[in-house]
């Protein structure tokens, strides 16, 4: 394993959460001090030129998102941290919080200052009991140390953070559904426009960022853009990324790696190869909604652009591996069941289309599939992709579309044999 620079995980110790003291010793809250010397506009510009891209899955440039925010508009404005982390195969935000939670607090205070949105909400996945305790402690420590609350570090800027634990649905990761949930409404996504930056939480301008995204901000502030960009090779995807490994790897852990490492390195060096010496068949590179990569993609660089070029997405970089004995129809069926179950039920293609796909995949996997079912599967994907109200169904189509593209022979074998060839 290469000794890559650790940024987000530099204070990670097994079974330990970094205290404020540890965090401060390693440069913690220096970024905030630097930021408070700058104007909000200067911070936004710096984040924009750093090239930081959203770590929640979409990879949208964070600084560009911030530049849409009406920071100088009077009245209430909100900063929301999306900690709903419910993408299957994804647990990197949890690892980050359990390792070194003050990065998030510091990142949020800097963002709140840059966006002039002095009220922040951390929207946390319902199941993350341990993280919620860690965050609450970190908030209390930061308040006591003057990094949070009134007149932060004598700058005159005040900021309050609230922890809100989700009632728990996948759809809450969608930012407008999250806002509805935070308001106490049914978490159906809202139509865009208006975007949250115009009308978000309680009808006010709101900026929503992922935990890992915000945690990057203090380091950019403290070390500068040149440092940040040299952390990784691809110009389009600077910085490090937390890769959460799961599935048939020998080592299912979370690693901080530079963006642009090859899939082969992730699989062989960090995943330690596959269980029982089996061959690598495929993986989900970035959570359950990212289209599969296969062995032929092992030399592809794991960064936002390179993965898009091969028809997949880096997503959350939660890499789930499948060995040669895995039935990809069964995998896809499982994944699709999850998405069908987590559909909020607002729009027809997602609510009833995903269910139809589940039914088709069940049929095929159970050996009752026909050529007509394969045709129907194709037309379902074609008519769900890009046709639904929000991105949930589109994400759900990732693995199904990849199954049809990469493993059509395997589907046909199910149909031909009248049973699953993997037994």
């Amino acid at each position: 394993m290469t000794d890559y620079t650790q940024v987000l995980f530099k204070n990670r110790r097994p079974g330990e959460t970094a205290s404020l003291e540890t965090y401060e010793k390693t440069g913690g809250y220096e970024g905030l001090r630097i930021a408070l010397q700058k104007t909000p506009g200067e911070i936004c510009a710096q984040v924009k030129y750093s090239g930081l891209r959203g770590r929640g899955g979409a990879g949208f440039p964070t600084g560009v998102k911030w530049s849409f925010f009406p920071a100088d508009q009077p009245g209430e404005k909100y900063l929301v941290c999306n900690g709903d982390e419910m993408e299957p195969g994804t647990y990197k935000d949890r690892q980050l919080l359990l390792a070194d939670p003050h990065q998030l607090i510091e990142g949020m205070v800097i963002a709140a200052y840059a966006l002039q949105a002095p009220v922040g909400y951390i929207f946390l996945r319902y199941a993350y009991e341990d993280c919620s305790q860690v965050i609450e402690r970190a908030i209390a420590e930061a308040e006591a140390a003057g990094y949070l609350g009134k007149d932060i570090l004598g700058s005159g800027f005040s900021c309050e953070l609230h922890l809100h634990r989700s009632a728990g649905r996948y759809i809450l990761g969608e930012e407008t559904a999250l806002i509805n949930g935070l308001e106490g409404r049914r978490p159906n996504p809202r139509s865009k426009p208006p975007f949250p930056a115009q009308r978000g939480l309680f009808g006010r301008p709101t900026n929503v960022n992922n935990i890992e995204t915000l945690a990057n901000v203090p380091h950019i502030m403290r070390n500068g853009n040149a440092w940040y960009q040299q952390l990784s090779a691809p110009e389009s995807s600077p910085g490090t990324k937390l890769f959460g490994l799961s599935g048939h790897f020998n080592r299912t852990e979370c690693f901080e790696l530079p963006l642009g490492v090859t899939l082969r390195e992730v699989v062989q060096e960090y995943g330690g190869g596959l269980r029982n010496g089996k061959r690598f068949k495929a993986c989900l590179p970035g959570g359950a909604s990212s289209p599969y990569m296969t062995a032929e993609h092992l030399d592809v660089a794991m960064d936002f652009n390179a993965l898009e070029e091969i028809g997949s997405r880096l997503g959350t970089a939660g890499v789930t591996a499948f060995d040669e004995d895995t039935c990809m129809v069964a995998v896809t069926r499982n994944i699709n069941r999850f998405f069908a179950r987590e559909s909020c039920g607002w729009c027809t293609p997602c609510r009833d289309g995903l269910q139809t796909i589940s039914w088709l995949l069940d049929k095929i996997e159970n050996g009752q599939g026909t050529e007509d079912d394969l045709t129907m599967l194709h037309d379902q994907v074609r008519n769900i992709n890009g046709r639904s109200f929000c991105a949930l169904a589109e994400g759900a189509m990732g693995p199904v579309e990849a199954l049809l593209r990469l493993f059509e022979d395997e589907i046909k074998e199910h149909i031909r044999k009248g049973k699953c060839p993997f037994g």
Binding site: A340, R351, Q355
Partner: protein, 801 residues
């Protein structure tokens, strides 16, 4: 005005129109579920896909979510769009049961239309369907959850548009369903709209269930007779039975919805005790004979005792045509006594409103555009329910609402409520006119100062007041306040809630400077000896029924035209059976002066089911339909006056005689209706002083209208009976404590009219030191008519022995 091209055809539409509406303007019908003109578009059904070929938006889009813009080139027949639509409808049908043959929605199922239009015909999904347990939702709505296609229209209608709170979305994914948290009657007075909003048979009309297939109904555009707003309706009947009412579309008045009183109040038409036979001196007679006798005896009376000895009294449910002919009859006899309301204050309030409303008139559509609404002395849910919905839409668009009223007003929207006693209403109105706040108490001053500031700042303010609580004086002061609050930028609009469907029209026709209470004096003294009642009941609909009944006993001749079993009909020397709205054509003028026509829906007659007593067809054969004798009042009056008996001729005659009614000659029932706003010179209608209520040893009692049970026609409708409930009084919590009474206690109410037993309800949101009594026909409370001076009363707790 954006100009765009849809399917190679150019169309120009108003700013803000969405592309689905633009296509509809070209008569291109694209299937859709979530879009509804009144509810807007939310983009959930994904059915109205079109391909945007050129312009600011490109690619496949949901047309309802895209605002029409210049330069757009759109295809609705694009292959991808057509394919998507067929898939969406296929998905929507995934769980839909195949119970179409027995479904109550049959014949008006939008889902069926959309399925055909969407191009889905063969089921490919053979998995298990989702099923649900239905809920008992009360007397009006039948629920069949399995039919739901999750279009969200019900929730958007019930909660968002109508402001109901006891109905919600449950579950997620493909297990979503809509209903109440638990079984129980839907509380919203607009619950019936679920039936129309649901595109399929999840929510159907329980009262109408199993009565008819909708294609067998006789239907025609009509006007609701249950309040003064004049909502458009489409009643449907079959076998001479009126079986249901659904809303008609009038974008100026009710829009697309109606209230439950309007929807379920129709059954007065089928009332088993409805008088259908003409009578002459207690004997059955033919209509012709009774009419001849009526004309003759009135003439004799005039010859013997002079024209002053005859009085003519119409009502707020009299059609404009019949009213005009009644006026003609009075004119021919020379009688100065012509009224269209036996309730003194409702009568005078209507006349003052008609005289002075002019351009301040405000339709419900205009009311929705208001930014500040002051509701003073009106409980809209009781006096004009659809106005409450209009107020809600204004609030949804950002308007503020201030309510000044003694009652615990329940509006379907947020408002600021000052619960003051009725005696304070004139003081508040005076303050609005003069801006002098000396007469206000310290507690009243600040809110009213704030209100004045709000009114001054408002761009489209409206004042709403009810005839019952404000009376003629109050309505007059309300109009004064509007004048005082006008500024160079905008007028202040006024909405007056009047006594009935044609109160405005009746007031326009009124010739007498007097009101019914003074006529009662003349009857008592023997100066008036004959009374012609046109669909009115002076025995019970006036403010002081006891006094009226004593005097009316002295009449030498009582002629009654009516379609309901009221006291005037029972006691008349000459009775003539008339027809209710659904059985004739005619017109009403609503509270904003809007003249609207209605058409005949069904012929009168006892319905076949009633005559057959279980064995059909009836065994007694006759050339005549049983119970079919009632005729439109205007037809009978035309016969009395020896005028042609067809409606066009009568309308022509009315328009010729009075140019205010010019529009009558070309009026059709499907138009929004012209507004009659010409200032009218009426006989002296100087407003009375408002009743003063001096707190003393006894308790002041204020009769008020309720949502159900106070409207005579609605009271006669069996489906509304469950809403009427027991006789009830309302007290402020503090007063209840002082009287030793608690919520739901049984109490004995003593008034000059006698004793009755009532259930006590308490509220902290109403005026103190006041007993509110919702008027309830058919109970001991029916003599407590709203709209006049307060009565003293005593209340004692009932002790169970």
């Amino acid at each position: 005005m954006p100009k765009l091209i849809i399917d190679n055809r150019e169309v120009t539409v108003p700013e803000g129109t969405n592309v689905l509406e633009a296509a509809q303007a070209l008569d291109i019908v694209i299937p859709h579920f979530c879009y509804h003109e009144a509810l807007g578009a939310v983009g959930s059904c994904r059915l109205c896909a079109m391909n945007f070929l050129e312009g600011p938006v490109e690619g496949l889009q949901m047309a309802c979510m895209i605002k029409a813009e210049d330069g757009m080139v759109v295809s609705t027949v694009d292959e991808e769009a057509v394919e998507l639509r067929s898939h969406v409808i296929e998905w929507a049908m995934t769980n839909h049961p195949h119970d179409c043959p027995v479904c109550d929605e049959g014949g008006e199922c939008q889902l069926q239309d959309m399925t055909v239009a969407g191009g889905h015909s063969r089921r490919r999904f053979h998995g298990p369907k989702q099923t649900y347990i239905n809920q008992e939702l009360g007397p009006f709505i039948q629920q069949e959850k399995n039919r739901c296609i999750t279009c969200y229209r019900c929730i958007r209608t019930y909660r968002d548009y109508c402001g109901g709170t006891d109905f919600g979305t449950f579950g997620s994914r493909n297990r979503i369903c809509f209903g109440r948290f638990q079984d129980g009657r839907l509380e919203s007075p607009f619950s019936g709209n679920l039936v129309d909003a649901c595109p399929t048979g999840v929510f159907t009309n329980k009262v109408f269930r199993f009565k008819s297939r909708v294609w067998d109904l006789q239907e025609a555009p009509s006007i609701c007779p249950h309040c003064s707003l004049g909502c458009s309706t489409i009643p449907g009947g079959r076998y001479r039975e009126l079986q249901r009412v659904k809303p008609g579309i009038n974008r100026e008045t009710n829009g697309f919805f109606i209230c439950d009183r309007g929807r379920f109040g129709y059954d007065h038409v089928n009332h088993p005790e409805r008088p259908r036979q003409a009578r002459l001196d207690g004997q059955q007679a033919t209509v012709d004979a009774a009419l001849t006798a009526a004309a003759q005896r009135v003439r004799q009376m005039v010859e013997q005792h002079g024209p002053d000895s005859v009085a003519f009294v119409g009502s707020a449910r009299t059609s404009l045509e019949a009213g005009a002919l009644l006026a003609e009859w009075a004119k021919r006899t020379g009688s100065p006594h012509l009224l269209f309301e036996t309730h003194r204050e409702r009568d005078r309030a209507a006349r003052i409103l008609v005289d002075r409303l002019g351009d301040r008139a405000c339709s419900l559509a205009e009311l929705q555009q208001s930014d500040l609404l002051l509701l003073i002395g009106t409980d809209l849910i009781a006096e004009g329910p659809m106005a409450a919905l209009a107020v809600r839409q204004a609030v949804r668009a950002g308007a503020q609402v201030v309510v000044i009223d003694p009652r615990p007003i329940d509006l379907p929207c947020s408002c600021t409520h000052l619960p003051v006693g009725p005696e304070r209403l004139p003081v508040f109105l005076d303050t609005l006119v003069t801006r002098k706040t000396e007469a206000l108490t310290d507690a009243e001053r600040n809110p009213l100062q704030a209100l004045l500031e709000q009114l001054d700042a408002a761009k489209t303010p409206a004042l709403l007041g009810g005839a019952d609580l404000l009376g003629s004086r109050g309505i007059s002061r309300l109009l004064d306040a509007a004048v005082a609050l006008d500024n160079n930028e905008r007028p202040v609009r006024v909405v007056g809630l009047l006594g009935g469907a044609n109160s405005y029209g009746g007031a326009l026709l009124t010739r007498s400077p007097r009101d019914f209470d003074t006529l009662v004096d003349d009857i008592q003294e023997g100066a008036i000896k004959a009374l012609v009642c046109l669909e009115s009941d002076p025995y019970r609909e006036c403010f002081d029924p006891a006094r009226a009944q004593a005097a009316l006993g002295r009449l030498e001749l009582l002629v009654s035209f009516d379609c309901t079993p009221n006291l005037a009909a029972q006691r008349a020397d000459i009775f003539l059976p008339s027809r209710p709205v659904a059985e004739m054509a005619g017109s009403f003028i609503n509270n904003e002066g809007r003249l609207q026509a209605f058409e005949q829906v069904i012929e009168p007659g006892i319905s076949i089911r009633e005559t057959s007593s279980g064995d059909h067809p009836p065994r007694e054969f006759s050339l005549e339909t049983p119970g079919a004798l009632p005729r439109p009042a205007w037809q009978m009056l035309a016969q009395v006056l020896d005028l042609p008996g067809d409606l066009p001729a009568i309308r022509q005659q009315i328009a010729t005689a009075d140019e205010r009614f010019d529009a009558l000659t070309s009026l059709t029932a499907d138009e929004t209706g012209p507004r009659i706003t010409d200032p009218v010179v009426l006989p002296d209608t100087a407003p009375d002083e408002l009743p003063q209520c001096v707190p003393g040893e006894t308790l002041p009692l204020l009769p008020v209208q309720g949502f159900a049970g106070s409207d005579w026609l609605a009271h006669l409708s069996a489906p509304l009976q469950p809403l009427e409930g027991e006789p009830t009084i309302w007290l402020h919590c503090d007063l209840a404590v002082r009287l030793g009474l608690a919520e739901q206690d049984q109490a004995r109410l003593t008034t000059p009219l006698g004793h009755c037993h009532v259930t006590v309800r308490t509220s902290a949101r109403m005026a103190d030191n006041l007993v509110l009594v919702p008027h309830l026909w058919g109970t001991a409370l029916e003599g407590l008519v709203p709209g006049g001076r307060h009565i003293d009363c005593r209340l004692e707790k009932e002790v169970n022995l």
